[in-house]
């Protein structure tokens, strides 16, 4: 584990180049360039807003629906895009990774980092809007770096795991698609957790809260949406919010590390096979 951190540090130049490659490819030679970063997430938010707020009349008490959506959709998109792109990244970049002593996990890691860079501006906008629109204690905003940190680690771990598995079993791609689809609906991106509490028995609600993505999303909301914490503190203990995702993230990182250690010598065999 320490060796991995050392490798990341000693080859940070390579990581930087890979992240830059990702960003450059995304925006090079495209009109409007960086604007695309905002366009897709905002289009999603507007679509959801129209469908769920205007047509389906979903009610959310914790925050203005628009802000609630933004805080959920942006962070979910970051996770979704990273994992979806990372799954096939080793085979897509076959030519890149077949170099002597190339650390394969750098590719999914770079994808995750490039995606977090894309995610930050829209997060910033959410922060600004929420500062003006909602009311409540502003202190939680300072936990944002910590939350982002956990989120990035979790995403990178999942990305590395799926990318390695995909090299061996090409069916993993469909598993990932299914997983992301189900996880999206199991996470309160566009509905309130109180809808779950109201609809399902209590035990189900507890299980629902165990979903680490729910935990992370709620953490984001506590940080971004003023007043969210005060409203939900009776149902969500801050410790269960933090410890759940934290333990899960560490577990994912260890799993990813073990998987990589077992596969690092044979990845190229499977890639060239």
């Amino acid at each position: 584990m320490v060796a991995i951190l050392q490798e990341i540090f000693s080859r940070r130049n390579l990581l930087y180049e890979l992240v830059m490659r990702d960003l450059k490819i995304r925006y090079a030679r495209k009109s409007m360039g960086f604007l695309w970063t905002f366009l897709m997430p905002f289009a999603t938010v507007i679509t959801f807003y129209v469908i769920f707020c205007q047509i389906l009349k979903v009610k959310i008490g914790e925050a203005p629906f628009f802000l609630y959506l933004m805080s959920g959709v942006f962070s979910w998109r970051f996770f979704h895009d990273s994992v979806a792109a990372a799954t096939t990244c080793l085979t897509d970049n076959k030519k890149l990774v077949q170099e002597p002593a190339f650390p394969h996990y750098f590719i999914p890691l770079a994808i995750t980092l490039a995606n977090v860079i894309n995610f930050l501006p829209s997060l910033f906008i959410t922060v600004v809007i929420s500062l003006f629109v909602s009311r409540g204690n502003v202190i939680f905003i300072f936990s944002l770096p910590f939350i982002i940190c956990i989120h990035v680690c979790l995403t990178a771990g999942v990305a590395v795991i799926f990318s390695i598995l995909y090299v061996r079993w090409r069916n993993v791609k469909y598993v990932v698609e299914l997983f992301l689809f189900e996880a999206f609906y199991a996470t309160p991106v566009f509905y309130s957790i109180y809808l779950i509490k109201a609809t399902f028995p209590d035990i189900f609600f507890k299980i629902f809260l165990c979903n680490p993505f729910t935990g992370i999303l709620n953490l984001y909301r506590i940080a971004l949406l003023r007043g969210f914490y005060d409203m939900t503190k009776n149902d969500l203990s801050i410790f269960s919010l933090i410890i759940g995702p934290l333990v899960f993230t560490i577990g994912i990182l260890i799993l990813g590390y073990m998987l990589y250690e077992r596969h690092k010598t044979i990845i190229n065999d499977y890639l060239s096979g």
Binding site: L14, Y16, R21, L96, P100, A101
Partner: protein, 578 residues
């Protein structure tokens, strides 16, 4: 196993008994399915390259060149064996590896450089030199997607050429650039060599190989066939190519290196018959000795010329001549024909003619042999005339009571070694190696603690191998544990058996109390197939064997030519229509 000198400090790259296996996978749709088979891309390759040398790797497509380079570069791990490289290894593989089409040339320098492992400052310092060397000019800021293959190569090579490394591995790319750039690369490679870098290159340009490489390794089906001077390797390679070309279109077994041949007569009951369509007729076979005189018998090891007179009744297109030698018991000794030897006879006109087969040295051991003579059609399927086992040949010479097949000469060297605690070749192992040599009459005996301590088969240059090419040199080295061998007057007998137990060749000589026996065959004329080695010790005076190690080792022969029989005898053909 034989310990290899992997810690030799003068060697920049050492490969010890390297093998690489790929699982066989079939692709159906988007799924990769494991086929259950395996494919050995490299088999037991041992090589070492001194620092500052350039090794060329030669071989047909799919012979394992790229896999070898991949293993040396550390991209894929070997399945068996060991790779030891000194210093940093860089690889320049297929064009475009590590390149990103969407990025500009300049950006690719940084990306590619950092993938290879260069630091940012190293790259920044080398940047202008790289761009200059690549001669890309303003294109350096264009996206790589707009580059031609040659431009990609130039960029790729330029990056490598300006970074620090000890060993460089280059795969079949240098021929892409134009002549000017090729020369530049060439000069650069020579500069590398002079500055003590070690290079491994593969290329299909024989010219480049001969100009550049200190030594060349020839690979075929993952085996190392030859390692030595470039010129010789190239000649071997051409021989290989020609042999293949000749068999294109023939059954699949001929497409590969020949691994086994026909070893017995088809049907001995047909001996003495004249078969065939009689469009051509064989009239007589006569034997001539080294003085060109007609003879009835021939001494073993002497030249022999066989001349066949025939007549043709209609015009025959693409005929082939063949003469086969069998031992009395049906063992197929050798059956060359003009088809296998690559001769093309466009047609035979009506009338009389003759063809002859000239053996430079008839190495067959003394005994009675039977000859078949035939004139075949193009693919050796229809015989125009076939005299099956019709003629006899008597070979005279020294006593051949043990009924061996071959009387080829070998050199041997004896030396003594200090006592070393001996390691046993386990009885069970010996059986496993050569199950077919369960010589029932003599059992291996443990006699006074004498054991074969080690057995080594190799090319005389010292390269350990298990597969040899017909008529190439082979060296056997046997070490006997000997602390109890004080009694003088011993003979050692060394025998080679064919897979089915036929005694091909044997040699025996006195060893006194020597413990290390080196036996060199300048040419081992055994045709493709599996062979085994047995060793025996006997009392010199009484000639009674007291120790026998049957089947202690096995080896294979392959050949780039198709032939029938067990032994290879150098020969030439001649024919004429009257």
């Amino acid at each position: 196993m034989i310990p290899l000198l992997l810690n030799d400090t003068a060697m920049a790259v050492s490969l010890g008994a390297l093998s690489k296996k790929y699982p066989l996978q079939a692709v159906s749709g988007s799924h990769t399915r494991y086929l259950g088979g395996e494919f050995w891309a490299l088999k037991d390759i041992s090589l070492s390259i001194p620092q500052g040398h350039i090794l060329g790797i030669l071989g047909r497509n799919g012979s394992g060149k790229t896999t070898l380079l991949n293993v040396v570069a550390g991209i894929v791990p070997p399945t068996k064996g060991k790779v030891v490289t000194k210093g940093k290894v860089l690889g320049l593989f297929n064009l475009g590896i590590g390149f990103q089409d969407e990025l500009s040339g300049r950006e690719n320098i940084f990306l590619n450089g950092s993938i290879i492992g260069a630091g940012k400052t190293e790259l920044e310092n080398a940047l202008s030199a790289i761009i200059d060397f690549s001669e890309l000019g303003d294109f350096i800021d264009m996206p790589l997607g707009s580059y031609s293959q040659g431009m990609r190569l130039r960029l790729g090579f330029s990056i490598i050429a300006h970074l620090d490394f000890e060993v460089l591995v280059i795969d079949e790319i240098l021929t892409v650039g134009d002549i000017l750039f090729q020369n530049k690369c060439f000069q650069r490679l020579i500069e590398f060599k002079h500055s003590g870098k070690t290079l491994l290159i593969t290329t299909q340009s024989m010219d480049l190989l001969e100009r550049l490489c200190d030594t060349v390794a020839l690979l075929e089906h993952g085996c190392l066939l030859f390692h030595g001077e470039a010129e010789k390797a190239v000649n071997h390679y051409y021989a290989l190519l020609n042999a293949k070309k000749f068999f294109v279109g023939l059954p699949k077994e001929n497409v590969r290196m020949v691994e086994t041949t026909k070893k017995w007569a088809d049907n001995r009951s047909e001996w003495g018959l004249r078969l065939g369509t009689k469009e051509a007729e064989i009239h007589s076979l006569s034997l001539y000795n080294k003085f060109g005189l007609l003879c009835k018998r021939i001494r073993s090891g002497q030249p022999l010329k066989l001349r066949v007179n025939f007549s043709v009744n209609t015009i025959i297109k693409d005929p082939h001549f063949g003469i086969a030698i069998f031992r009395k018991d049906g063992v197929y000794c050798y059956g060359p024909n003009t088809l296998f030897d690559g001769h093309k006879i466009p047609e035979l006109k009506k009338g009389k003619g003759w063809f002859s087969l000239h053996y430079k040295k008839l190495w067959l051991a003394p005994g009675e042999y039977v000859l078949s003579v035939a004139i075949w059609d193009k693919y050796e399927t229809v015989a125009f005339d076939y005299h099956c086992g019709y003629y006899t040949l008597l070979v005279t010479g020294a006593d051949n009571r043990d009924n061996k097949l071959l009387d080829v000469k070998a050199k041997y060297k004896l030396s003594r070694k200090k006592y070393r605690p001996y390691t046993f070749i386990k009885k069970s192992d010996a059986r496993a190696i050569m199950p077919f040599l369960s010589d029932a009459s003599v059992h291996k005996q443990q006699y006074a603690g004498i054991e074969i301590q080690s057995f080594l088969l190799s090319h005389p240059s010292g390269q350990k191998k298990g597969i040899f090419i017909t008529n190439q040199p082979v060296m056997f080295r046997i070490t006997i544990s000997t602390h109890l061998l004080e009694e003088k007057g011993r003979d050692i007998w060394f025998g080679i058996f064919r897979e089915d137990g036929i005694y091909c060749h044997g040699i025996s000589f006195a060893i006194e109390n020597d413990t290390r026996i080196t036996l060199v065959y300048p040419q081992l004329p055994l045709l493709p197939g599996k062979y085994g080695v047995s060793i025996g010790l006997s009392n010199k005076k009484t000639r009674r064997p007291f120790l026998h190690f049957p089947g202690i080792h096995s080896f294979c022969m392959t050949f780039d030519k198709h032939d029938h029989g067990t032994v290879y005898l150098e020969h030439s053909w001649a024919w004429k229509m009257a």
